[in-house]
Symmetry: C2
Subunit: 400 residues, 2 copies
């Protein structure tokens, strides 16, 4: 895949968020759930607000929202979304739920965290399907630029999950978001999930986890947020080694799995550790043969089947590990519209963190890896980038 | 602290295991628990055997046991223990419970894993106290060479935990083993545990977690052991950041905390991540001020208050990270009598993995760091090492 020789970068942001305000999901719900929706939605919104109060700093977030209030409707407004990403230099985006921090997300616990406890499965499914219907519509309005994901709460009935993967694929979505936390449900190395992996592998539907989900911490305790920040990447990443050691990538060599916004510090050491553990060693000999179902090293499955969407990669001085993670595995995202992301100052932040990175490497991280991962048509995206992409000259020079 | 100029290394192994066969704990139990003990112990032993069957490779372990059967009684036999560690070149040992793999451990779930679920707290405490009484006796038979730890299931009543710390200190024990897994109990950043940290800090009692504890994985699933091997270090390490961000090391600057057998790959990247998270950054700004209770960086608490007992460090080609972990933080252990440790070939394995490491660094890892951590008297230990320690000449040369 050769990039056209224009002087702007094509950016495919692999971490964006979109979703309706909660009350607007009503029209997308299967009718039999609307009565429950009407009875519960106000309480659910109040509960989210209370949780947000525990979790987020009010002043910081309100100030941030005030400065951007006119643009936040880009979470659901198609024209505004185009304008926002044009201004940000982004040609296309992978779209997760939960558009504005915790405020707008699908109902019934079907948002980003997808916890398999404290919810009713049939309601969580109903919320997920409502979001997926809306997301499919949203993407159909701009199919070149919107890489939509379906929410698939796959820990319950597997046939339901397979049916949703098929529906999502037929309606133009490009992948699925699965629960990162397995709770008391069978873990992802269980063969019961093989039909889901197969359905995704056969259709090029990329399976995602996204950071955010975590056990029910007591955020009133001192330092709880520090604990969360040490652990959030872990909770989102655990499915990785369940899939590797469970043999999902061995059985379904075409399966694609993407970890989104999970930090990157830990990846090289975890890959090394998995390879060590998987080799026959004195230290794990007593624990038996968990390797016989694998023909590759864990790090080889990583490089063949997995991607890392590193929304915060360039904000933490750790571009150094990109080679250890694998230059073909790292993708970038703006995390629109979350305040920890780069929007609305993406170009300035890119200049700050990316100056001095060779063009060939930037090209991989900003676009070609994503084109491969999601199987995208490059030509129309390059045409958009030629109009709105950041000039390559912006990143030439010594690192800042 | 200057080491005598003899030509042998002093080894203080910071990971050893000792304990009675389960039925022998009866005499050390408070009398009111003996009836329950008599009624339950056979079922508990059978359950352990069944679990071991799931978890461990029978052939590997039986073969290993056969080859060492005469020596395994060193888990509880004082004279034999001296003979075994003499032969291994070890002058002194830190002693955890669970002497022979999973077979001999205190009753009522008071062994190494200390899960706070599926047990009755008063029984788990009874088992822990029985072990502690025996351990105190065992150490009193050889007070120079045995650095005994008390089992303290501190997640229940905090006064009980403080009383046990005081009892253990008064009876010559040097630290405590706490549950790594917190389950549904209040997490270690809860102020309710401050009296325990204070009691330990005031007495130089080193607080330990040890790998092994894990959630109830379904080991019948493919790759479950691979998942466990990716995660066991994590479960044992989680208390570290609860203590750091909860302010335990800030409030109790003398508190000593030791992570035992938790691998080491992840430590440098986790220290870096904690420091990044704890600095005021765009990416965590929205999450609020969890840093105001800390005057040092997380990595500074690590270097001041924490140690890593790296029993498997030299078996996985990762001596390279010792400097990043901190040369004053790394200690070594043989893990006697577990098959994944170095016994009964400690000297050969040391030669294999330690040849070429500078003497000053080996000295720190093999002894002086432990002397500092546990506040040990060096002179009598050096006298023992002059008799049984491995010759320094053994490790001179190029790395093998």
């Amino acid at each position: 895949m050769t990039a056209p020789s224009h002087d702007r970068y094509l950016i495919v942001s692999t971490d964006g968020h979109a979703g309706l305000l909660p009350e607007k999901y009503r029209d997308y719900l299967d009718p039999q759930f609307r009565e429950t929706f009407d009875a519960q939605i106000e309480a659910e919104i109040a509960e989210r607000a209370a949780r947000e109060k525990d979790f987020l700093i009010k002043d910081y977030n309100e100030k941030w929202r005030e400065g951007n209030v006119g643009m936040l409707a880009a979470a659901w407004d198609s024209d505004l979304r185009n304008q926002v990403i044009d201004d940000d230099g982004v040609a296309a985006e992978v779209l997760f739920p939960d558009g504005i921090t915790e405020r707008n997300a699908p109902p019934f616990g079907a948002g980003l965290s997808l916890k398999p406890w404290g919810v009713k499965p049939e309601l969580q499914w109903a919320g997920a399907r409502a979001h997926n219907r809306w997301m499919a519509e949203f993407c159909q309005q701009e199919p070149t630029r919107r890489i939509g994901l379906a929410i698939v709460p796959m820990l319950y009935d597997v046939d339901d999950a397979v049916a949703e993967v098929i529906w999502a694929h037929e309606h133009g979505l490009k992948g699925i978001l699965i629960p990162a936390l397995m709770g008391d449900r069978p873990a992802y190395n269980h063969p019961r999930y093989h039909p889901v992996w197969r359905a995704c592998a056969e259709r090029g539907m990329v399976v995602h986890t996204h950071s955010g989900p975590a056990p029910d911490y007591d955020f009133s305790l001192p330092g709880a947020m520090g604990v969360f920040l040490c652990e959030f990447a872990w909770w989102a990443a655990r499915p990785l080694w369940h899939l590797i050691f469970g043999g999902a990538f061995e059985l379904f060599p075409e399966l694609k799995f993407c970890l989104t916004e999970v930090s990157e510090f830990w990846v090289p050491s975890m890959l090394e550790m998995m390879d060590v553990r998987a080799s026959v060693k004195h230290t794990s000999g007593k624990l038996g043969d968990f390797r016989s179902n694998l023909t590759l090293k864990p790090s080889e499955y990583w490089r063949r089947n997995c991607w890392l969407s590193a929304s915060a990669l360039f904000d933490e001085g750790s571009t150094a590990v990109r080679h250890q993670i694998g230059m073909e595995s790292v993708m970038w995202g703006t995390d629109f519209p979350h305040p920890e992301g780069s929007w609305p100052h993406t170009k300035e932040k890119m200049k700050q963190y990316m100056t001095g990175i060779p063009e060939a490497e930037l090209t991989m991280m900003l676009s070609t890896n994503a084109l491969t991962c999601y199987g995208l048509d490059a030509a129309p995206l390059h045409a958009i980038a030629a109009r709105i992409g950041p000039p390559k000259a912006l990143f030439v020079g010594d690192p800042q």
